[in-house]
């Protein structure tokens, strides 16, 4: 054992058992796996990836290139970064990680913080910067990789004001903890520095990891420096380690990394290792310092049969040693600076790249800009912190008090001399041993020479040719050596060779940590309708349409999809059937110019539509291709209701806003989404009238393509007489709250529920195209045979100009046709390609005329049929559909298969049937089903509840003088009472989820990107929470109301419950 009897930051009273390659071992609290392995005398911790050479522990930090182990379920981590824990099972690796299938036990989430000053690094400079900024009153976040603040003070024995330096760090740490606007994140590694002062950091927490998203006005980089090695023969032996690491193991971990040491140093810091090793009882066999007159160089190493270091060649002299501590000099850790797009320059005195020109609102302080001395780093940190606070608008009060707090302690370090300019040693060819530049990727100086020999001049080429710098440490230990060696090989200077680009992340980040809580059901919001619960209960099979879950069919007993669809279609054609049509986009369009606007957006006319009438409309993109379709109804002289396809609802609303705001601002027209406000049931079939009458007794006779407001189930609703099937059909609309009751009543009255599949068959029998199925962005209305809907006399509509371009007017374009297979039972395969005439044998390389867009079995026709987009054919032509099912001969027909004369539209004559009293609809709130789980989750820290059934209006145009202002001319008014003209009722569009309690903000900041600091977020905001668009309102100190779309309510409720579930048992301090 090489554990020292005393000293270090470990608790020798407690034993922490663990295993390495199955061997039971123990360490102490405060150990890393690496220090524990050294203490246990384990010298070989793995083998190298290419050559399989034994490798030992090389560093004491996250830059470790050798000691890569499998630790518990982690596939590959640096032993130097693993805090030892009881029961840890670690295994050596050969430079490659091993993934296993076990479920991930860690909780990974995210957090968003905003601050005035972000300080990265908790060493002398970073602590000083955080203190100076914090004392000035700035909101400060300090992130530090280590479990304890202090940085290099943890590893060194430097004295500040005559006392151990760590005391100073502890004192500053205590002071920071006392400042209310300072948040210290320990065990947190800043891994990426992105545009607009956006920094990402990974916090290792009990039982998990949190990915912090930090937005700072100013950033102070205090990331320290990495010691570098040199390339000499046998420099990869277990027993060769960085001098700073040797020092850290002795001072911090109370471990002697060897018994007899040679120290090879190009810089004065090496002498600290000499002193500390000697004081720890390690014999110093020799000190090699090229700067000394006649100073020796290490020219090689010797090893035993296991490859362990046994000695060191100093020129012709051989010295026995089991430890070689190497210091080739220091490299400021400019990784984050470089990621921020700052430019580095090569400092000739330091022989290292240092920050040069900043690109963002940041500055570097201390060792990461080459100020290596402890007290100069502290002074630099104070200056950087004060400056950052000031630039963020916090003027520190001058005076004695502040001067006292920010006093730079006196340090016992001697002034340091410049390092030796040395990258390699012993490469005169005397030794056959390899000299390694990159330890993880096994890249040697000879490999670099070979790269230069191929004619490569760019260090980027050499990196790729040799893989140098692409290993686990991303060049932290190898980069400088590679540059130095290349400079020598190319006869230029390191400054000319330049460094390779530093790319995020600074240290590797687990995929799962990047995913956070966006896993499983929360990976993408599931949107559901008011009727969803009943659909699930009825055993519906769902399909995804955008984020929506829509019932595809409702199998009964052991029905296959085809059987179920045939039954559902038959019901719609011969009796009465019902579909949940709530997912169709609905946009309330108001304003004096609403009709004019629609005339410009749709290919056909809407300004002439009579009030109370409905019209089918088609809209194109500017290049003339079909974009969306749907029925639009004129509710009043200055008000329309547009419906869109389910998948395009958001895109269409954005499209309308774009044209209004950017092209036709002079038009008086406003858009309000009411998609979630209205629950919609399509009642379809010759006997539909009976069902509708029973639900809406007051309903007058309703001509085809008209609409009326009426009480449905005793609730104010809207009834539209429109049909997508050719049958008598009504669309009943009631506010979301009553949707489930309406659906239940419709089924109660005998309507057969049908899904999207039957709906597709019914419309195809009528030859109605579906946007996105018959069309694919290359199809014009004319191609669909819908020239009848393209107004000739309108001055313009979006897409009109493109319908006269050479390609849209050429003959021989594909057009919509019908298909009847010659065998009426033959499957018409969607996606099958059509070729001319009958085909015998292999049809390969026969020209394709088009493809099958829809194919079904029809109950009404008693056969299969299809629709296709195809060129150069006309009705009666024979074609062959070539698909997975082989070649199927078909005949081209006009695409209307059923009731071409539209005789079915009015259904059966009314027979007066007493359908009994169907009662009055019972209201159900969007998150009502969560009431119980919200209560269970109740805790002193946080409380969740739904505030349901609020009356809400959206107001656009003139200021209502009340409510939440959401946009320049957009308000949300909550509450009963009189409403103004043009207000749109949206009570069912959203529900309110309330989060309250001292932990409420901690919950929200795990998913909300805006600044929730109580001094900043005092009112409300339209923003994102998790993946749901919300309106967030702060109604009390710790009370937040979330207005969420009803269709997103279930998703957000689950997300909030999961967030509460993830709260630490003890309520942590709150965000600055």
């Amino acid at each position: 054992m090489t554990r020292l009897p005393a000293g270090g930051l470990i608790d020798r009273a407690v034993r922490v058992p663990y295993t390495f390659d199955g061997r039971p071992l123990y360490g102490h609290p405060g150990d890393t796996l690496a220090s524990a392995l050294l203490a246990a005398g384990v010298r070989v911790v793995g083998h190298s990836v290419e050559l399989g050479r034994p490798r030992g522990i090389f560093s004491a930090g996250s830059e470790e290139p050798n000691a890569l182990v499998k630790a518990g379920p982690e596939p590959m981590v640096a032993a130097t970064t693993v805090e030892l824990y009881a029961g840890l099972q670690a295994w050596s690796l050969r430079g490659k990680g091993r993934l296993d299938d076990e479920p991930d036990p860690l909780r990974r989430d995210k957090g968003h913080l905003h601050c005035d000053v972000l300080v990265i690094g908790g060493g002398p400079a970073g602590l000083a910067a955080a203190l100076a900024a914090g004392e000035a009153g700035a909101r400060v976040v300090l992130v530090d990789e280590q479990p304890r603040l202090g940085g290099d003070l943890l590893n060194s024995r430097v004295l500040l004001d005559g006392a151990p330096g760590l005391g100073w760090a502890d004192a500053v740490g205590d002071r920071l903890a006392a400042l209310p606007e300072v948040r210290v994140l320990s065990r947190t590694t800043a891994t990426g520095y992105y545009d607009h002062n956006y920094v990402v950091a990974v916090e290792r927490r009990p039982g998990g990891e949190r990915l912090w998203h930090l937005r700072a006005r100013r950033v102070v980089l205090a990331t320290g420096a990495h010691e570098r090695s040199l390339a000499f023969p046998g420099n990869d032996r277990p027993g060769v380690m960085l001098a700073s690491a040797a020092r850290a193991y002795v001072n911090r971990y109370g471990v002697a990394p060897g018994r007899r040491a040679v120290v090879f140093t190009c810089a004065d810091s090496g002498y600290e290792a000499v002193r500390d090793l000697r004081d720890a009882g390690v014999e110093i066999a020799a000190v090699a310092d090229p700067r000394e007159p006649g100073g020796h160089l290490v020219t090689g190493t010797t090893s035993d049969a296991r490859g362990l270091l046994t000695g060191v060649h100093l020129g012709d002299r051989h010295v026995e040693a089991d430890l070689l501590a190497v210091c080739g000099g220091w490299n400021p850790a400019v990784h984050l600076f470089s990621q921020s797009q700052g430019r580095v320059r090569f400092d000739e005195e330091l022989q290292a790249f240092v920050p040069h020109l900043s690109a963002q609102a940041e500055r570097s302080a201390g060792a990461c800009r080459g100020w290596y001395g402890t007290s100069e780093a502290i002074a630099d940190g104070f200056a950087a912190g004060s400056e950052a606070a000031q630039l963020a608008g916090h003027l520190p009060e001058p005076g004695a008090a502040r001067r006292a707090v920010l006093r730079v302690p006196v340090c016992d370090e001697p002034a340091s001399r410049p390092p030796a300019v040395l990258w390699t040693a012993g490469l005169d060819g005397a030794s056959a041993e390899s000299a390694f530049a990159d330890l993880h990727r096994d890249v040697t100086v000879a490999d670099l020479a070979r790269a230069a020999g191929t004619g490569m001049r760019s260090v980027e080429h050499v990196k790729r040719y040799t893989t140098a710098g692409t290993g686990a440490d991303q060049g932290k230990t190898s980069g400088a050596v590679v540059v130095g060696v290349m400079a020598a090989l190319l006869g230029s200077a390191p400054g000319q060779v330049g460094s390779t680009t530093f790319r995020p992340p600074y240290t590797p980040v687990a995929f799962a940590t990047l995913a956070g809580r966006d896993r499983g059901a929360l990976s993408d919001p599931v949107r559901v309708t008011a009727m969803h619960g009943r659909h699930v209960a009825d055993g519906a099979v769902f399909e995804d349409v955008g984020q929506w879950k829509r019932p595809r069919y409702f199998p009964r007993g052991g029905e296959t999809m085809e059987q179920a669809v045939l039954r559902e279609c038959a019901a719609a054609r011969t009796d009465v059937a019902a579909m949940d049509a709530s997912t169709l986009g609905k946009i309330d369009i108001g304003g004096a110019d609403a009709g004019e606007f629609l005339d410009r957006i749709y290919t056909n006319l809407f300004s002439t539509l009579a009030v109370g009438s409905c019209r089918y409309g088609l809209m194109c993109t500017a290049d003339g291709m079909v974009f969306d379709d749907g029925v639009t109804t004129r509710l009043a002289g200055d008000r329309y209701l547009m419906t869109t396809t389910t998948g395009n609802a958001a895109a269409v609303l954005d499209w309308l806003e774009e044209w209004r705001q950017t092209e036709w601002p002079e038009l008086d027209v406003r858009f309000t989404s009411v998609t979630d406000h209205w629950a919609t049931v399509a009642v379809v079939g010759p006997r539909a009238r009976r069902v509708v009458r029973a639900l809406a007794p007051s309903l007058p006779g309703l001509p085809f393509m008209t609409y009326v407001e009426a009480d449905v189930l005793g609730v104010r609703g809207r009834v539209f007489r429109i049909s997508f099937s050719g049958e008598l059909a009504y669309e009943l609309n009631v506010p979301w709250w009553y949707g489930e009751a309406l659906w239940a009543a419709v089924l109660e009255l005998g309507a057969v529920p049908y899904g999207t599949e039957a709906m597709h068959v019914l419309r195809a029998e009528k030859g109605f195209a579906i946007v996105g199925q018959e069309t694919d962005g290359t199809v014009t209305p004319q191609d669909l045979g819908m020239s009848w809907i393209v107004a000739k006399r309108k001055p313009d509509f979006v897409g009109k100009r493109s319908h006269s371009r050479p390609d849209t007017t050429r003959p021989g374009r594909k057009r919509l046709v019908g298909l009847l297979p010659e065998d009426p039972a033959a499957v018409v395969e969607e996606g099958a390609q059509l070729v001319a005439g009958p085909v015998d044998g292999s049809p390969a390389s026969v020209p394709m005329l088009g493809h099958v867009t829809s194919g079904y079995t029809s109950a009404a026709l008693g056969r299969t049929f299809g629709l296709a987009m195809v060129r150069d054919v006309s009705a009666g032509d024979r074609v062959t559909a070539v698909g997975g099912g082989g070649a199927v001969p078909m005949t081209v027909v006009e695409p209307v298969f059923y009731d071409p004369g539209n005789a079915r539209r009015d259904g059966d004559p009314v027979e007066e049937v007493d359908t009994g009293d169907v009662g009055v609809a019972r209201a159900q709130s969007p998150a009502g089903a969560f009431a119980g789980r919200f209560e269970e989750a109740d805790s002193p820290g946080v409380r969740l509840r739904e505030v349901p059934f609020l009356t809400m209006w959206e107001v656009r145009g003139e200021d209502p003088g009340q409510g939440l202002r959401l946009g320049p001319d957009w308000w949300l008014v909550v509450g009963e009472g009189a409403h103004g003209r043009g207000w749109v009722e949206v009570s069912g569009q959203r529900t309110v989820l309330e989060v309250s309690g001292p932990q409420a903000r901690e919950i929200l900041l795990t998913g909300c990107p805006i600044d929730l600091h109580p001094a900043v977020f005092t009112g409300h905001a339209a923003t994102l929470l998790a993946k749901a668009p919300v309106i967030l309102e702060r109604t009390g100190d710790d009370v937040y109301r979330i207005y969420v779309r009803s269709s997103f309510a279930a998703y957000l409720a689950e997300w909030l419950l999961d967030a509460v579930d993830g709260l630490p048992p003890k309520s942590g301090h709150s965000a600055p």
Binding site: P103, G455, S523
Partner: protein, 400 residues
């Protein structure tokens, strides 16, 4: 891997060349190689403002396939794939070309319809393609999660068995080595600062290393094409966007095919050294910054873990971005420009790597004859005027 001992020279520019290729990436190098090999034109310079193949060639996810929807695209990419199948021998270099199969997953009925449509079209175009149901997907790639309870369940996939990956650097260096051997001047650190155009005819290129007269000027600068074309007074339907990618640490083998999911923006394979190589979606905004937004990577990882739960603890080692030049129809532009003697090969968007040999082949032919190669004809700039687009966006296409 043993590379050749020598790859290329570092010459000084000559005053004049028969052909000056602007852009020393994969397409530029392939064009130079085929100009020499197929057309005997060797008085050629390749101008590269940085280091050879340091742009998108060094930044892509190395996926190779030819299963495009439209006849014109399928013909061009299939020609490229056939060249890939002989390229290692042709260039006498181990390109690590591995035809391990490319899966394109379908997650909803629309994907399924479009996937089947593409498979059927591919077959009739002589492109190998199969449709797999979820069980077959599981058998082909056992680590894919095909549970029907997944948020975006796998409903099936297209498979092109001849698709795969290659080592991008090796490809670039192999082409550069052969071009250099034919006498082509590979001029690195040579930035184009302008063009000399007299009577609508390109005559010379001005560079950071002096004037270079040119019989023919050929742009092959991917994301930087708009900037160069502007120097010649040409405005093109191109927008440059960041496209991000990343690699994991080295891992023992877990994935032996290429899996793509356009719907959730996941493109992944495992390189022979062991790192997982993944591509993300294109960033929304125009940029020449060679870096993208972090949330794009977060979303990509979340999607990836739904498909590959076993990746949960794999760690991202390095992220980066290339600059892709995107056309309105997601198909390239190859051929003439309004300036006589100045040709363009651009707009490959996210799909340029797989086209490297095919693109070089047809572009070299176009330069040598002054008229487009038959396979390139449909991809002329004029299609945007007529409207005869080759629209590969439709869900039918996966650009990567």
């Amino acid at each position: 891997m043993t590379h050749p001992d020598f790859l290329w020279h570092t010459p000084d520019p000559k005053p004049a060349y028969d052909v000056v290729i602007v852009g020393g990436g994969g397409h530029g190098l392939a064009t130079a190689y085929y100009l020499a090999k197929n057309h005997g034109i060797t008085n050629v310079a390749v101008l590269e403002k940085g280091w050879l193949a340091g742009g998108n060639m060094a930044r892509n996810t190395t996926i190779i396939r030819s299963n495009y929807l439209w006849d014109e695209s399928a013909a061009l990419y299939e020609h490229s794939l056939r060249l890939w199948e002989g390229l290692g021998d042709d260039l006498d270099y181990d390109l690590r070309f591995s035809q391990r199969g490319v899966l394109n997953l379908a997650h909803n009925q629309h994907d399924v319809r479009e996937g089947r449509r593409r498979v059927n079209a591919n077959r009739l175009n002589g492109v190998d393609a199969e449709w797999l149901d979820p069980d077959e997907v599981k058998r082909f790639c056992p680590i894919v999660n095909v549970s029907d309870r997944a948020r975006h369940p796998v409903l099936g996939a297209t498979l092109q068995r001849r698709g795969g990956i290659a080592k991008h650097d090796h490809v670039a260096w192999a082409l550069a080595r052969k071009a250099d051997a034919y006498g082509v001047d590979l001029l690195q650190n040579t930035e184009v600062t302008g063009f000399e155009i007299t009577k609508g005819r390109g005559t010379a290129v001005r560079t950071s290393r002096g004037r270079v007269a040119a019989g023919t000027i050929a742009l092959a600068a991917a994301g930087h094409t708009s900037v160069l074309a502007a120097k010649a007074g040409i405005r093109l339907p191109l927008q440059s966007h960041p496209l991000q990618a990343l690699v994991s640490e080295l891992l023992e083998p877990v994935l032996d095919c290429v899996v793509m999911s356009n719907a959730v923006h996941v493109y992944v394979s495992q390189a022979d050294k062991g790192e997982l190589v993944m591509g993300a979606g294109v960033d929304a905004y125009n940029s020449y910054g060679q870096r993208g937004a972090f949330h794009v990577v977060e979303a990509q990882m979340a999607a990836a873990l739904e498909l590959f739960p076993i990746f949960a603890r794999a760690r991202v080692l390095r992220t980066w971005a290339g600059i892709v030049d995107v056309t309105p129809d997601a198909s390239p532009i190859i051929g003439r420009t309004p300036v006589e003697n100045l040709f363009i090969n651009a707009g490959w968007g996210t799909g340029g790597f797989k086209a490297t040999p095919g693109s070089g082949w047809v572009y070299a032919h176009t330069l040598a004859h002054g008229t487009p190669h038959p396979l390139a004809e449909p991809f002329a700039l004029d299609r945007f005027r007529t409207g005869a687009l080759i629209d590969e966006h439709g869900a039918a296409a996966v650009a990567h």
